[in-house]
């Protein structure tokens, strides 16, 4: 058991993990494919990290907002709003970092406002994909860490109602089957 500060940090990290993982994965996949396509390893790495890191951070923020009860899990509007801001900024950061890595000087795309507006439109698509993945990973992850993280347990409870229903239906079937077996004997 670490110091209270470390423990609090770890718990926050656990809560942020699902969104962080999905955001990072989106960036890393692009980076991995870059390497496969034979680009210089350095460029591929910069491009992947510069996209994965901000996407991961914004994704983690979504998870934190959700576990804190500020955002209802699985609803599209909050995720879309968050990515409307987060996605263009992440792409801008990637463009700037790639320019710096390749040309050796900082810079942004020529028409920054146009660039940001286009990225904002695409962000709606990214938000659907993000939500889709997040909803798959978050409940399972929260259940896994719930035993040691009370906030995760609380957040998992919101997801668990349906699982409990399915579980009780299964239990009822099992009991009925056992009863029928006993009757046969």
């Amino acid at each position: 058991m670490g110091a209270p500060g470390t423990q609090r940090f770890r718990r926050l990290g656990e809560l942020a993990f699902p969104g962080f993982a999905v955001g990072t994965l989106a960036g890393v996949v692009a980076g991995g494919l870059t390497a496969l396509a034979g680009q210089p390893a350095g460029w591929a790495m910069v491009s992947a990290v510069a996209l994965a890191l901000p996407l991961g951070l914004v994704g983690g923020l979504y998870s934190l907002l959700m576990t804190a009860g500020k955002v209802r899990p699985g609803t599209f509007a909050p995720a879309a709003l968050l990515w409307l801001v987060g996605f263009p900024l992440a792409r801008l950061f990637q463009e700037a970092a790639a320019r710096y890595a390749i040309l050796g000087e900082p810079g942004v795309p020529a028409d920054v406002l146009g660039f940001l507006a286009f990225q904002a439109i695409v962000s709606a698509g990214f938000a659907i994909g993000f939500l889709w993945m997040h909803e798959r990973i978050a409940p399972q992850w929260l259940a896994k860490v719930a035993t040691r993280n009370p906030d995760a347990a609380l957040a998992y409870d919101r997801y668990a109602a349906h699982s409990r229903l399915l579980y009780s239906a299964k239990q009822a079937r099992r009991e009925a089957k056992a009863k029928a077996r006993a009757n046969r004997r």
Binding site: T34, R72, F118, V122, G125, I128, G129, W132, A161, L166
Partner: protein, 502 residues
């Protein structure tokens, strides 16, 4: 025909039919065994729990969305996309109606068809075999993989097929495994295409793609030619899941435990077949005269509507928008793409698009594009192999005499491995899409089954379900329009141009 228009009530479920010999309350529907009345489980408390739409998306987001629609946009401009909007919306409503029967009874739509008229169901059994045994999807995905990695496509496709068989056979519950696997792959696809579209597209690509969806009535003269008309109609029919894929969705709903599907055991992988519970010989019905049960039913309808609209409609729409943006970006940078597409060179057009992306954003984008095509091929293969085996096993188990001696898992595994072995044989020795002489017949059957399942839906939902849960008039009108549209266009194309849908 038994009158099945009344509400199941205590002791007498169908009005004229009293309790079963065991004194159990039942609902008589069509010519088969009556359905016992069981409680409807509570619907998920909130709509955020994702449902089995993932299968439809996996099957639906195939070459149609990644190739056929971008191709039409390149040839006729983005305004042609209003037809896609109509096609995919029609399919979402069909999906909701398929769900109505499956969720109310826990039976597949195939059993529903058999309750109306058994030969109808055998028609679907035969069509599934004729149309879906050809390993075209896996070969398309493997060809894209070959471009990236250099692994010969036949090797990748054969290994992929065996891998699919092994994974499904080892699974404890096939549905759960596949749902998780497919959702991750589709999530990657959606995220990835969005990121790539953000890198290569621009403002006008997106706005013209979006505004084209509302250009109702736009239909250029060239589209009325024998070359393009069947392709346009085929693209509308295949916007989203095509052929029998909507029918298989009812089996996935059942296995996901949706509504009355929760009373039916799940299909297990071959290795765990021994743990499978005895499959009941028919589905169940809930007491539609009980307001509490009807409240739960409404909850389930909300759940499936969310599943259909946001996930199926939204994700399918999104992937095509992304791919259309990609195609337009490719067209801007390399006019060859359009010429290749007009010449009907599918593989050439895909690799030209990939080359264009490479020239715009470095080799990574070309590779990423081909990676998505490989991913789409893999999604479709997984979804299709599972769905085919599930559907055929279901029909065999319930309607082939003596089949109940086997477990559903054994039948499922039998169809699955049969499909895999046949696929490998064809990949090694024959044409992956099927013999060219009968391609037209297969395309015809696939589109014909879509018109046929609209008719089946109308009959099943309006004749076999209790009145309080039957579809509303406007829904029936839309499904009726679907039947007329699919069958009408098919025969019009056949008579006017002598060709069937692509």
């Amino acid at each position: 025909m038994v009158d099945s228009s009344k509400v199941p009530i205590s002791g007498s479920a169908s009005g004229e039919a009293a309790a079963s010999p065991a004194g159990e309350r039942v609902w008589k529907a069509g010519g088969l065994e009556p359905m016992p009345i069981r409680p409807l489980p509570e619907a998920p408390p909130s709509i955020h729990i994702l449902g089995p739409t993932v299968f439809l998306v996996a099957l639906g987001v195939g070459m149609g969305e990644s190739y056929m629609w971008p191709r039409l946009v390149l040839v006729f401009g983005p305004d042609i996309r209003w037809l896609f909007l109509i096609g995919v919306t029609l399919q979402a409503i069909v999906m909701l109606e398929m769900a109505r029967y499956a969720m109310a009874t826990g039976e597949s739509i195939f059993t529903g068809a058999a309750r109306i008229f058994k030969p109808l169901m055998w028609f679907f059994f035969a069509v599934a075999i004729l149309v879906y045994i050809w390993p075209g999807h896996v070969s398309a995905g493997a060809a894209a993989l070959e471009e990236i990695t250099g692994i010969p496509w036949v090797v990748a496709a054969c290994v992929g097929l065996v891998l699919v068989g092994v994974i499904f056979s080892l699974a404890k519950v096939v549905y759960n495994l596949l749902e998780n696997l497919l959702s991750i792959m589709i999530g990657l696809l959606v995220l990835g295409t969005a990121v790539v579209a953000s890198m290569v597209g621009n403002w006008s690509d997106v706005t013209s793609t979006l505004s084209g969806m509302f250009a109702f009535g736009y239909f250029p003269q060239e589209a009325m030619s024998s070359t393009w008309f069947p392709i346009v109609v085929g693209s509308i029919a295949f916007a989203g899941p095509s052929g029998m894929q909507q029918m298989w969705y009812t089996l996935h709903l059942r296995d996901s435990g949706a509504a009355m599907g929760s009373h039916i055991p799940k299909i297990r992988g071959l290795r765990h077949a021994g743990n499978e519970e005895q499959m009941p010989s028919r589905g169940y019905m809930f007491d539609t005269s009980d307001p509490e049960e009807m409240r739960k039913w409404k909850g389930w309808r909300r759940w499936v509507t969310f599943d259909a609209l946001l996930l199926f409609w939204g994700v399918t729409m999104l992937v095509t928008i992304s791919f259309t943006v990609l195609a337009r970006a490719a067209d801007r940078n390399s006019p060859d793409v359009k010429a290749l597409i007009e010449a009907g060179e599918r593989e050439a057009a895909l690799s030209a698009m990939s080359d264009t992306f490479s020239s715009v954003g470095g080799p990574v984008l070309g590779t990423v594009f081909l990676g998505f095509i490989a991913l789409i091929g893999m999604n479709a293969t997984l979804g299709l192999f599972d769905s085919f085996s599930r559907g055929q096993a279901d029909m065999t188990y319930f309607f082939v005499p003596g089949a109940k001696k086997l477990k559903m898992s054994h039948l499922y595994a039998g169809f699955l491995w049969g499909l895999i072995l046949f696929g490998i044989g064809i990949l090694l020795f024959g044409p992956a899409d099927g013999p060219s002489q009968i391609l037209d017949v297969l395309a015809f059957l696939s589109a014909f089954s879509m018109g046929a399942y609209c008719v089946v839906l109308l009959l099943v939902n309006n004749r076999l379900l209790p009145k309080p849960i039957r579809p509303k008039l406007w829904t029936n009108l839309v499904i009726g329009f679907g039947a007329l549209f699919y069958l009408g266009m098919l025969f019009y194309s056949l008579i006017r141009f002598g060709v069937v849908l692509d």
